[in-house]
Structures are given as C-alpha cells and as structure tokens.
Amino acid sequence: MEFTRRETMATGGAAVLTAMMPVPSFAMVDDLVDEFTGGADMAEGGVNLVAPEIAENGNTVPIEVSADGAVAIMVLATGNPLPPVATFNFGPLAGESRAKTRIRLAGTQDIVAVAKMADGSFARTQKTVKVTIGGCGG
C-alpha cells in the first residue's frame, strides 16, 4: 500500500487522536473491518452513508446505507464502547442494496460503512456525526 504525503499526515493525525482517546481503540475498529473484509483492500467510494451532520439526540440517530451491487454492508460506530452497529446482508429479493435504521451514538464520532460487493471486492466510507449534549434533562 502506498501513501501520499497527505495520507501519511492524516494517518499520523489519527495516531495522535488514538493516543488521546480512551476506549475504544481504533485498532478494535480495524480488527472488525479486517474480519469483514479478510484483510482485502477497500475502495473509497461506491458505498453511501447518509447521517445527520449534527444529531439532536445520540439515542436515536437516523442513518441510511446503500451500495450498488453490495451483498452486505457493515456499519461501525468508531466512538462507541462497542463499535459494531449492524451488518445488513442483502438476499436475492433485495430490490436495492439499501437500508435505513436508527442508531445510538455515545458522542461525536465517525461512523464507518464497509460494503462487500458481489464480485468479492470491498468499498468503505465514513462520516462524522456531531452529537449534542442536551440542555434540559426534563
């Protein structure tokens, strides 16, 4: 795998963040991705993840994943105590490889979606969701 200078910088930045953040470690997320992909390379793009930029409440955050021709899409919440969220396996009668659900986010973090395509290739995307801390306990 080759890195451009920018990618290397970004990786370095991520390492600093990893050092600063408590559990969970990004290694856990990487392990989960590896388990799903068998360590195969992932294309950036080819899988779509729709999530609000700012979630009004972390308890119920609407998300949608889709990837043309995917047989499965795994969703991870990298900042949750337990990063796995769901894996959608699409059967022969799936009209599109698309699903919407509502998820819990422990705080502001990146959500990662990895799609497994019918030809065995993989695609990955991620999105940052800011989770606001409420004012009124009410």
């Binding site: 308890n59 059967g91 699903a99």
Partner: protein, 109 residues
C-alpha cells in the same frame, strides 16, 4: 419474551410483477445494551433483538445482524423486488430465545 414487544410493518398490498417496493418495519423493544448500570451500580444485563430477517415466499430480502447500538424500538426500511403474490415474513430474534413474527400478503398483478 421481553415485555411489551409489538411489531409493526408496512408493505404495499398490491404491486406489479418486477416492481421494487419499499418496506418499513418497527418493533417495540427496549434494546437494553448491557452497558448501563442500575441505581445500585450493578450492570443491567444485555437484552436485545440480535437478528432481523425479511423474506418473500421463502426467499431472503434482508438479513440483519443487530448490535446493542441499534436504538430502542428498532426500525428498518429497505427495498424488495416482487415477482409474484406471496407472504412477506418478518422475523425478529431476541437474546432470550424468543422469536417474534409478522406476516403480510402482497398481491402481484
């Protein structure tokens, strides 16, 4: 069986052969994550629905592995290709071994 579980599904009653229809479903379930503690500081044991499947005439549309990060009252929306009349079968699997099922029939012209 967890308390107060009730499924709710929305599928069109009719469609033409080859149509892609959108399906929505929700089930009332507390989805206790296993991460919370009670007032005495004891961990509240995990109790979630861990798998959801939807099929039409026995053929799979979607099969979802669910984790504690799925919100209370789990909701899913997805698409199905319909070719002939038949029963949509919705199945939710609870950690406690319970299985909740719902069936909806679609007429395909």
């Amino acid at each position: 069986m967890a308390k107060g579980v009730r499924p709710r599904v929305k599928v069109p009653k009719t469609a033409s052969s080859g149509d892609v229809v959108t399906i929505k479903c929700l089930i009332s379930h507390k989805m206790e994550s296993g991460q919370r503690k009670d007032k005495e500081g004891n961990k509240i044991p995990r109790s979630i629905i861990n798998r959801f499947t939807c099929s039409l005439a026995g053929e799979t549309i979607i099969d979802v592995a669910m984790e504690p990060a799925i919100s209370t009252n789990p909701y899913f929306e997805f698409d199905a290709t319909v070719t002939e009349s038949g029963d949509f079968k919705f199945v939710w699997h609870d950690d406690d071994g319970s299985v909740y099922e719902e069936v909806k029939t679609i007429q395909v012209a």
